[in-house]
Amino acid sequence: MPAVGTSVARKDGIGKATGSALYADDITFPGMIHGRTIRSTIPRGRVKSIRFDFDTDGFTIVDWHDIVGRNSVDLIEKDQPFLVESEVRHMAEPILLLAHEDRERLNAAHVEIEYEEETPLFDPEQSTVVFKKIDIMKGNPAGALASADLVVEGTYRTGHQEHVYIEPNGVIAVPEDVDGKKGVAIFGSVQCPFYVIKALRCLFGAHPPIRVIQTETGGGFGGKEEYPSMIAGHAAMLALKSGRPVKIIYDRAEDMIATTKRHPAIVRHRTGVTRDGHIVAMDIDVLMDGGAYVTLSPVVLSRGCIHAAGPYRCDNVNIRGRTVFTNTPPNGAFRGFGAPQTEFAVEVQMERIAEALGIDSVEVRRINALRPGDTTATGQKLREDTSALMVLDEAVRRTDFLRKREGYRGTNRALGLSLFYHGAGFTGSGELSLKSKARLDLTPTGVRIATGSTEIGQGTRTTHAQIVSDSLGIPYEDVEVAQPDTARVADSGPTVASRTCMVVGKILEECAHEMKERLNGLSPAEYHTRHGAFSVERMYAPPDWIKWDDATYRGDAYATYGWGCDVAEIEVDPDTFEVRPLKLTAVQEFGRPIHPALAQGQIEGGTAQGLGYALLERVVMRNGAMANAQLTNYTIPTTLDMPELDVVMLENPYPGGPFGAKGLGELPMDGPAPAVVNALRWLGFDVREIPATPELIAGCTATA
């Protein structure tokens, strides 16, 4: 029986449910001490002096002078220091590191830092430091706007969002001897072990042997993509200086105040339409607050801009994007990666276009939805695996949308809808330059998958094993999955961008086919007994038709897209303006589910995060720092906040993916916020911003 397409037993084992699975904080090493980060308490200025108000005996203390290589976290740019030298650019920026075996003494240690303060910049609209600019041009938008029957304008705002993985960040750095050289092993809660390697090579130079081992990871959602490199660097410096294993575990407050968040965005739309509902011109301006360092902002902006026109056909489009500096902690990767911001904007804009035209918003979407053969804003000609109309029609039919919405007229209930899409894998030529590799090892009992792709709850181990099992024609039980250890596995690229199943799964499929040929009819065990072990390693080859020009932002932005339509049914308390979601129907097409139950879990979980983004999750910034850095007043959805979820998975296979699979992880994040806000609009609230808290809704003027 094939493993793909069925909800086989997961490779995680029972450990997560018995408490025996080991997360970073569950692991100790002999002689281990604890590390702590001393951070800036001003948003901008210079360090004047540092004084230790404690007995430093027994403490390991590290500052920037201890850095032997380069004091920069090597990511897209090398602008962010591991430790402040003099200039402070944001609150909670790391300045000093302390370590001690007694955690109470460590936490009680007081460091007095004097600063020369400077005036901080918090408003991205006032910022003149631009990290990245993007300009996508198609046709003649200015001319088409001038000749349109109607031009609809709107400004849309989205706030920060905190990941709230339930396991805060944490790593342990362990000194180890590798062939007589003093090296370090990092055990940690990380999404991208090889990103940590890159950052640490920059920090230490080429000398110390470094490896990174992923421990069981309690959620990531993008939040453990880049920041763990910083923490690993800190722990490694303390470990090499003290000669002892050093554990750094952030508590919730530190994790929320210091680590990355979703970029806040301001998106402005001017859309030209004809009286009969055709979009003829889109002019879109995207501004994202990057925070104090570049981190991943250029690529977040890129994905945001590419998705900014929504899943709609239009011959004349201009999308201008910029991400800018402010004196706030850097924003970074978060599930959806720029697209939830811009797709929120375009979907509320679509609703307002329908309102302005007096045509039903479902009809306006139907008229303009992308079809196979249409071209996107970057000029990409879409293929047969384009399903905007399919998901829209199914969502409308399944929820009896038009009749039900009409029936709610005059009540405090309403339905709202959003249509969205999400490109899978790295953007443009990204997958080509990544050169991801995956390896299969023959073992005495079967095969072992050896990749750097991390299991962070989404089912990496299981879906990869399913793909290998069926491609090799061996039982699923005979496939094991190696724990990611950079010294032992192939660099399969980061576990991000909805690429793990589709891209790394594809390389594994090809490895399995090559291995099958070499086995020549023997089972892995038979082959191993006769000839011994061997491995197959292959590199990813993106489809050869992908053409992308990074200078002009023209071409095939993604090999394929997932498609979704969400319908939110809500109720608003007329006195308190609290919104209660009653039901959310998520119709999503992502090629083909490798493991239906895990896929459903991705949609349900992503939808929950999207509902939190829409209604609850407000980061309050005060003097450049998160003022509500605790779960008491930064609230994510609980069981009592979540509506009934109705998930529908439609299939439209992508020929370049393993067994037709597309990426799925991020797609469900894009839809809930606009669906909820469009329902609010139907109730008469002119909401153009999220989170749509009661205070915000109360202040909104009527739509009609």
């Binding site: 037993a9 450990g15 018995t18 993985y165 339930i166 396991e167 709850g457 992503g606």
Partner: protein
Amino acid sequence: MKFVLNGASTDVMAHPMSRLLDVLREECGLTGTKEGCGEGECGACTVLVNGEPVCSCLIPVAQVESADVVTIEGLGDDHPLQHLFMNEIGAQCGICTPGMIMAAIALGPSPTLDDVKIALAGNLCRCTGYSAIYRAVLKWREMSDVNVSASATR
């Protein structure tokens, strides 16, 4: 400090104001109980004290003197609810799972969906959206209710 831990009497040397969570993890070596927030909001540290689910990050160990404390390890490694959490994908990343199971285990027989939601309202999960957790818990209660009625008619 003496109390009953997972059925066995235990004596720990700890400051009476130490958090029960730290005593369990560090003195007793039971790391299945997790810390997610340290302020009783996320429920990842849920254990049973005299049969009631509580956040062990909020409880000083002095408060459990001579009490009956059950952690996730007390359920063993073959409890049907543990298997259901994995098979129904009620666990994704798994960090909330031990606390979630300890909160669910205290549910009475034949719970409705609303009973389950209320029982788990103090336990945050960021991965699943909770639907799969309801499926796991309701299936488990259906199974155990069937077992109860089967043994009652025997």
